[in-house]
């Protein structure tokens, strides 16, 4: 059977594996980089990666860094001026501060983060926390709001801005939809079960829906068993303490999400950080851990666990899974993979980075993911061997104390997963995954051609576009909204202070026209705001470029 888009009975995964092995046997291996501008990160072992792994982290020209610092310098000077005026009563104080009786104690609001919030963030605060009033599909409606006192307070005018193109929601496969046909089963379950659970998993909160969902998740990922939780953030922060404790070592990536960091800190284990996606740094840490053991007693570590994410949402980079798995096997460590953004979004059938690299899910010890991003629902899961999941059912804080997932949400995930696996009798799931892949490649290619600096792997649907200067953050977001496009801009403290960016999330529900509208608006705005910092020009035959890179897939 050579046609992977034919509807089958859930064995699609197995066939795909075979196909990958055939490709490898025929000797097709990695190709050389295409243009001068592309930096192909070195592959140490040619047979580990079955297809090219191209990531971009271009540095901006020097004048950009200088001007960014000039901007921040001016902002800081005016920040001090305003603080002085507030302290001496020349200006009304709108921000949080200590009471009179607390003035002699340790100051609470004098650190840099509070200074930054008061003086720089407040000026452009209207670009965040915008309330929306429709489903976050490819287009949505925003509530219009204005400010009378420079962003300290807002008021709603009562009007809504309709049909704003949504480039910020994590709606990778387009399952956030309100079509009644698609939501038939969800409405039925809502009428059967209601919305509340009113209990925790271990008391009376385990429904047959949860059992069905867990079996489906395990089948989807190709593992023994899975457990689902009501909240994605809580999945990480409540389960890592159950898996590791004092005397264990956690090796966590520099740019891990806050939920992983919180879970690691709550567990009480020793945490060591390795440079982002840098395998030499990780190997050095592993060797040091095994050679030197625990800090004072020199005993062996009870467990060494590596925490990584599938796709890093601020950089758009994909984890180097084959190298990490080979390192883990060599040094006998455990691997915890957080696929919040990558499940459903990468891989030929949407099964995440494990499938993207053609590896077996048995290589990863703990597979974690969320249903918020690609499935249009809420919640998270942890999957792996049966022993692991049985242990978590009894020892996880989330299972004992947190309410379980609500039934209509569970049904939404079930229907989305069945659609992805092809179990509902259509090829809609596979079409969505392919549409996402096409949209991602098109969007990234066009942005590179226009000359913007884009970070991340060419296959990741998260596209960060670098803005650098603080003045441009506000200007960019406001002007895009005027053109009826909603974007998310990010600055300090979520990113390094000089690398502020606009982050686009491509969705399978975006049509070519919508992407073209956005790209034209970006072109215009890029010229007006001078955002096209890239020094590398693309090849003049874009069709040829795309073909030679992707003939490996089909």
């Amino acid at each position: 059977m050579a046609n992977p888009s034919a509807v089958c009975n859930g064995h699609l995964h197995h066939h795909h594996h075979q196909k990958q092995n055939n490709l490898l046997k025929s000797g097709v291996c990695k190709k050389n980089g295409i243009t001068k501008g592309m930096k192909k990160n070195g592959v140490s072992n040619g047979t580990l990666y079955k297809k090219t792994f191209i990531e971009h982290f271009e540095q901006a020209p020097m004048y950009v860094a200088v001007l960014t610092f000039v901007g921040f310098g001016v902002g800081t000077i005016f920040g001090y001026l305003r603080d002085f005026m507030r302290a001496w009563g020349l200006e009304k104080r709108n921000i949080a501060e200590e009471r009179e009786q607390q003035k002699d104690f340790v100051p609470l609001y004098q650190d840099f983060e509070n200074f930054y919030t008061r003086n720089l963030y407040m000026r452009i605060r209207d670009n965040w926390n915008r309330p929306i009033c429709s489903v976050p599909g490819p287009q949505f409606d925003l509530m219009e709001r204005v400010t009378d006192d420079y962003n300290w307070t807002f008021r709603f005018t009562g009007r809504t801005i309709k049909n704003v193109i949504n480039m910020g929601s994590y709606n990778y496969l387009g399952f956030a939809e309100t079509e009644p046909n698609a939501l038939k089963t969800v409405t039925k379950e809502l009428q059967k079960y209601g919305t509340g659970i009113c209990s925790t998993r271990q008391e009376m909160g385990t429904l047959d829906k949860h059992v069905e969902l867990e079996k489906l998740v395990a089948k989807f990922l190709g593992v023994d068993d899975a457990m689902v939780f009501g909240m994605g953030f809580a999945t990480n922060s409540m389960n890592i303490p159950a898996l590791v404790g004092k005397g264990c070592l956690i090796l966590s990536d520099e740019l891990n999400h806050t939920s992983l960091v919180l879970g690691a800190r709550l567990s009480g284990a020793t945490i060591r950080i390795f440079k982002h996606n840098n395998m030499q740094s990780l190997e050095k840490l592993l060797r040091d851990a095994i050679i030197y053991g625990q800090p004072r007693s020199r005993r062996a570590w009870r467990k060494i666990i590596i925490l990584v994410e599938g796709i890093y949402s601020m950089e758009g980079s994909i984890v180097r899974l084959p190298e990490i798995v080979s390192l883990k096997k060599k040094y006998k460590a455990y691997l915890y993979l957080d696929e919040a953004h990558s499940i459903g979004a990468v891989g030929a059938t949407g099964r995440g980075v494990v499938e993207y690299f053609g590896m077996s899910p048995d290589d990863v010890d703990v597979l974690m993911g969320t249903f918020t991003k690609s499935f249009g629902a809420a919640g998270g899961y942890i999957a792996g061997k049966k022993d692991l999941v049985d242990f978590l059912r009894t020892h996880s804080h989330s299972a004992v104390y947190a309410t379980s997932m609500c039934p209509p949400v569970a049904e939404q995930i079930i229907r989305a997963m069945k659609c992805l696996m092809g179990l509902d009798g259509t090829t809609q799931g596979l079409q969505r995954v392919r549409q996402l892949g096409k949209n991602t490649r098109y969007f990234r290619r066009r942005l590179h051609e226009m000359g913007f600096i884009i970070y991340g792997n060419d296959d990741s649907p998260v596209v960060p576009l670098l803005l650098y200067m603080p003045g441009k953050i506000g200007a960019f977001a406001r002007r895009m909204l005027e053109k009826n496009i909603g974007v998310v801009v990010v600055g300090f403290p979520a990113t390094p202070i000089t690398e502020s960016r606009a982050r686009f999330c491509v969705s399978a529900a975006h049509t070519r026209e919508m992407l073209d509208t956005v790209l034209n608006a970006l072109d215009e705005l890029g010229d007006f705001l001078q955002l096209k910092y890239s020094r590398y020009s693309k090849s003049s035959h874009p069709e040829l470029y795309e073909e030679t890179r992707f003939e490996l897939e089909d």
Binding site: V70, V74, F78, L81, R123, G471, F528
Partner: protein
């Protein structure tokens, strides 16, 4: 971007200046303060340049010229 006129181009340059120095984010009185400070610094520097640079150049020129004249005299004698 095609500029219809010189005025448009100057306006665009002004926008770039605003974005780079964060004066786009400032309230009107802060902008007034900032521009007053900048313009007064520029005026002072250009006035200083206007007064002093010709004097400095002529002094430097005299110095080098005198050196050459002295050298010639030395060789002559």
């Amino acid at each position: 971007m095609d500029f219809k006129s010189m005025k448009n181009y100057l306006y665009w340059l002004y926008c770039q200046f605003e974005l780079i120095t964060c004066s786009y984010l400032m309230e009107p009185w802060e902008k007034l303060l900032f521009y007053t400070f900048n313009i007064s610094m520029l005026v002072m520097i250009s006035y200083t340049a206007y007064i002093f640079i010709p004097v400095h150049i002529s002094t430097a020129f005299q110095f080098f010229f005198w050196l050459g004249w002295y050298h010639h005299n030395d060789i002559g004698n």
